[in-house]
Amino acid sequence: MSGRDELNSVVLAALTAFLNDDDVDIRPDTRLEDDLGLDSTEIIDIFVDLEKQLRVSLKDIRFSDLKTFDGLVAAIAERVDHGASVTA
């Protein structure tokens, strides 16, 4: 499994845990706001969970720049690749 696949799984698990809905089907093109109904506060909660797991800071990612699940994973991958460290 590549690093991107692994990251994909981690983000998917965090999102699924947050939504707590067995019926939701998340695909790469699933829209965060329109399909999942996520808002900016909810995404921060998911980010904080991911920051603990990935040991990376996701502070500067803007919700308005995130459209799809794939875009979310890409934005997080960029932070992971740049080794952004977690800061309290």
Binding site: N20, D21, E42, D45, V48, V86, T87, A88
Partner: protein, 389 residues
């Protein structure tokens, strides 16, 4: 013309009590919800596991307990009233909430996160979960309600005021329907510590009186009670069951120390007389806070308005639920008026507030007077009357 305001629905979330039938049945048996909650506090608490499945987990994790209680009680009240908000004019519906403490169960956890892990670890939902108007906000969002709405913080009088305010707006023709009541979550370390200081300062309540289920004193409870209030004509048009009618309301002040209840009976006499007008009460549900000097003043005030008026304290099966307490007394009054029956009274009064209403059938129960008091000296009284269509 002033409109009549009637109660057509009741929803409860209380310790060991999930329905209106439970509420009534619990008054008829000897079982008590009262237990030890901390070293200095006795009372009753809600088993949150019993509420599982009532709110979607995604929403539930954003809410403090007191908001969860309010959402569940609201849905139960609407179901009880047979009201579908989706078909109502949402501009003419309002939400009125009484609360005292806010959301400390959620906040306590997040304060630990703040001090142990740093600011980033604090839940982003902290800001919208803790504040006393959170239940009002969540109820209005959930049902899309757009009419005038408000939250009142006045200690144990909070939901007497919320219901009276809602009724006033319906009476004036500004609303047709209101979801009104109160909610409180007290079973948290912080709140119990704060309440223990009141117990210690006043040094008068149940300790070291015999610790039994039937003992008065500063007993603490939690939960939510919400009522559906409607314009009387609207309720009649849809052939709704009417529990009771909201009567007069009075509120006065007897300024005292901010952490004390007034021991002057005069403000309460004035608020009771303001609420009653020309009505004569058949029964009083006293505030009965469990602190001796305050309860002596209330007993003197009740004697002043009618020496032979019976008084019962059904809420002491649970203890004091502060923001929800007034609405709970209104629910008891509604049930007694609807059934024309008094709740049995089994409590052994160690406080001076009279509990002299023991008995069941009452042939002509028309007006029930309810009192609520706040630290700092505010006192409130509300009359609930027999509903007549």
């Amino acid at each position: 013309m002033t409109r009549r305001v009637v109660v057509t629905g009741i929803g409860v979330v209380l310790p060991d009590t999930q329905t209106v039938d439970d509420l009534w049945a619990n008054q008829q048996n000897d079982r008590s919800c009262i237990r030890t909650l901390s070293k200095h506090i006795r009372g009753s608490a809600i088993d949150e596991a019993a509420l599982a499945g009532n709110i979607a987990p995604r929403l539930s994790k954003k809410l403090d307990s007191f908001t969860r209680y309010s959402l569940i009680a609201t849905r139960r009240a609407l179901d009880d009233a047979g009201v579908d908000i989706a078909t109502a004019d949402k501009e003419r519906c309002g939400v009125f909430v009484g609360n005292c403490f806010g959301g400390w169960k959620f906040t306590e956890v997040e304060l630990r996160h703040l001090h142990c892990e740093g600011p980033r670890a604090v839940s982003p939902f902290q800001a919208t979960s803790w504040f006393p108007a959170a239940p009002q906000g969540q109820i209005t969002i959930f049902y899309g309600i757009k009419g005038f709405s408000k939250t009142y913080m006045a200690d144990r009088a909070s939901s007497l005021i919320s219901v009276a305010s809602a009724a006033n707006l319906i009476r004036q023709g500004k609303l047709d329907l209101a979801i009104a009541g109160g909610t409180e979550s007290t079973n948290t370390d912080f709140i119990k510590a704060a309440l223990a200081s009141i117990v210690a300062y006043d040094a008068e309540p149940a300790w070291p009186l015999p610790v039994t289920a039937d003992t008065y004193g500063f007993l603490v409870s939690e939960g939510a009670v919400f009522l559906i209030l409607e314009d009387g004509e609207r309720a009649a048009r849809r052939n709704a069951r009417v529990y009771a009618e909201i009567g007069g309301f009075g509120m006065r002040n007897g300024p005292c120390a901010p952490d004390q209840y007034t021991d002057d009976p005069k403000p309460l006499i004035r608020s009771m007389n303001a609420a009653l007008g020309h009505d004569v009460p058949d029964l009083v549900l006293p505030d009965a806070c469990g602190l001796r000097s305050a309860d002596s003043a209330e007993a003197a005030a009740i004697e002043e308005i009618g020496r032979h008026v019976p008084a019962v304290v059904p809420k002491m099966k649970y203890g004091h639920s502060f923001g929800a307490e007034g609405a709970l007394d209104i629910a008891f009054a509604c049930l007694m008026l609807r059934k024309q029956q008094l709740v049995p009274s089994r409590y052994e009064p160690s406080s001076p507030v009279p509990d002299r209403g023991a008995g069941t059938a009452h042939k002509n129960l028309r007006h029930i007077l309810i009192n609520g008091r706040s630290m700092g000296g505010a006192v409130s009284s509300l009359v609930i009357s027999k509903g007549e269509m």
